[in-house]
């Protein structure tokens, strides 16, 4: 065999192996969509990839079983709000930590670094009492405040700081010479130059808010206030057993739009996660 042939054989073997490994990564999505269209009887019958009878009804019942549209909207607006807040707060703090000298900067950095690693489970109990004393249980405030100021927000701050540090300082100096204030330099020069970092923070923050579960579970009790993950876990019959076809139809509705955005922007999204590095 020539080198070329060996190489082709080698490539082919790898590709086949990768295709096999890819099955458990892709198949759950396929099966989720397929089962979302099935009737209860078909779901437990012999497996069919394409539903024998397309039961569109499922997708209507999803909305009548619980206020799913409202819940969908909750998730969306909370995720957007958290993203915007995080972008503003983390880029402000990140900029100060990267470019300004001030008393307490070292101490602040130290605290932030330690916060990066502490899981939210550790502080969730005192936070519950804090939120309760503020009268904010069963509102969306804890879902907005805790991620923005918790480990997620700290990570965003670090990411922004790293990015600002790597920017050439000359441009900002030029801005100062032109009479911009600190705030002006941040807004007109540093931020526009940091689009990749801002995009990364936005993507990661949005997804983590969209997928947030522990906080909604603990703080929310009325169905109208639920967010998607909590709503999804709530498609049960009166015995607490899952209503599979409804649950999977709802899951499809929750997951597919995100997947479509992911497929369109996969490069950007994957790079954002690579940039942040920390998370898991």
């Amino acid at each position: 065999m020539t080198q070329r042939q060996t190489q082709i054989l080698y490539r082919t073997c790898w590709t086949i192996a990768l295709l096999i490994v890819a099955i458990p990564f892709m198949f759950p999505f396929v099966w989720m969509v397929s089962a979302g269209f099935k009737s209860t009887t078909e779901i437990f019958g012999a497996p069919t990839l394409i539903p024998r009878v397309w039961r569109w009804q499922n997708f209507i019942e999803v909305f009548t079983y619980q206020p799913f549209a409202r819940q969908y909207f909750n998730s969306l607006y909370i995720a957007i709000l958290v993203t915007v807040l995080t972008l503003i707060i983390s880029s402000l703090a990140g900029y100060a930590l990267a470019r300004m000298r001030f008393a307490g900067a070292g101490l602040l950095m130290l605290f932030l670094i330690s916060a990066l690693m502490v899981p939210e489970e550790v502080t969730i109990i005192p936070n519950f009492f804090l939120i309760r004393s503020m009268g904010l249980v069963d509102t969306h405030w804890p879902l907005i405040l805790l991620p923005t100021f918790g480990p997620q927000g700290v990570m965003a701050t670090f990411l922004m700081r790293q990015y600002f540090l790597a920017l050439p300082k000359e441009l900002e100096d030029a801005g100062k010479m032109d009479g911009l204030s600190r705030f002006g330099v941040w807004w007109r020069i540093a931020l526009p130059m940091s689009r990749p970092a801002l995009a990364a923070v936005a993507i990661i923050t949005f997804l983590s808010s969209w997928n947030l579960f522990l906080e909604p579970l603990i703080f929310l009790s009325s169905l109208e206030m639920f967010t998607l993950p909590l709503a999804l876990s709530n498609f049960n019959d009166s015995y607490g057993l899952p209503l599979w076809n409804l649950q999977l139809a709802a899951t499809t509705l929750a997951v597919v739009p995100i997947l479509i955005v992911y497929l369109i922007a996969q490069r950007q999204i994957i790079e954002s996660f690579a940039l942040s590095g920390v998370k898991g």
């Binding site: 020539t2 080198q3 070329r4 190489q7």
Partner: protein
Amino acid sequence: MTNVLLKGIEKRFGSVEVIRGVDLQIDDGEFVVFVGPSGCGKSTLLRLISGLEHISAGDILIGDRLVNEVQPAQRGVAMVFQSYALYPHLTVRDNMGFGLKVRKMPADERQKRVAEAAATLKLDTLLDRYPRELSGGQRQRVAIGRAIVGHPDVFLFDEPLSNLDAELRVHMRSEIAALHKRLATTMIYVTHDQIEAMTLADKIVVLRDGRVEQVGSPRTLYENPANIFVAQFIGSPKMNVLPADAAPLLAALPATLSPAESVGVRPEHLMVVKPGEGILRGKVTLAEYTGAVTLLHVALADGHTCLAIYDKQEMPEVGAEIGLKADARDLHFFDSHGQATKLRSN
């Protein structure tokens, strides 16, 4: 005894043709330099010889053995990389011994070879250091040492000096020349620096866009360049090329100008004289004094600029009118395709 033969070598990356048919004979013990502008395919050609890249067409013979399908490690070649490619997690000793180790050479024999190479390259005291603890020149030596220990039949160098500062470069150049003299092994050396090529080579191969423009000794290339490209690439500052009409003004020519379209003359061959009839005239626009000589930029009446090296003390002023002259022997004529040509005698 190892010669290297390239026959009709081609290389494509996808649809991009990088090497477009190279034929070359390299004799045993010869020091051959591939030279050409950046991106012309020098490294690619070297990697094809080493086997790191697979040829798209043609044949490669090393020591009369067809090696098209032979693994890189079995070709008996060693390579010194531009980046040195020293493994950062291994000491100098382990870097140099790496190849011997993966080839399962016994430890004592390995130590002997490494010590031998280290002595030659004056690396004895650095053997337990890591690459990051070495200076640029020392890293360069380790990279060469790593190539030496395997006792290869052919050495391949890919711009080995381009990461060194000017002074060190001159020094390492002479060390490589000395190494070649001592080992008398076939060496193929890639550079874009024509001075390196001229000083080191037994034979220079000028490459351009994946093709060989000319092969010859440094003297041949300097004195008889095959075309304008080679003429201008070899020699510094580069050769002036003027319309052929200028030639009779520079020197008395016995023949007609056809088929020459242009004439080339090296700056060091132009003589500055008083302006006068029948002499190429121009105005000095810039005089760059370098100590030993002065480099004059001369604007000719027809709008061309040419360079002349002036080695006398009293310097013409900027703006002064001067005349230029040359020896007929030093004129190079090129036809409309830029190929070297002789004037027809009549």
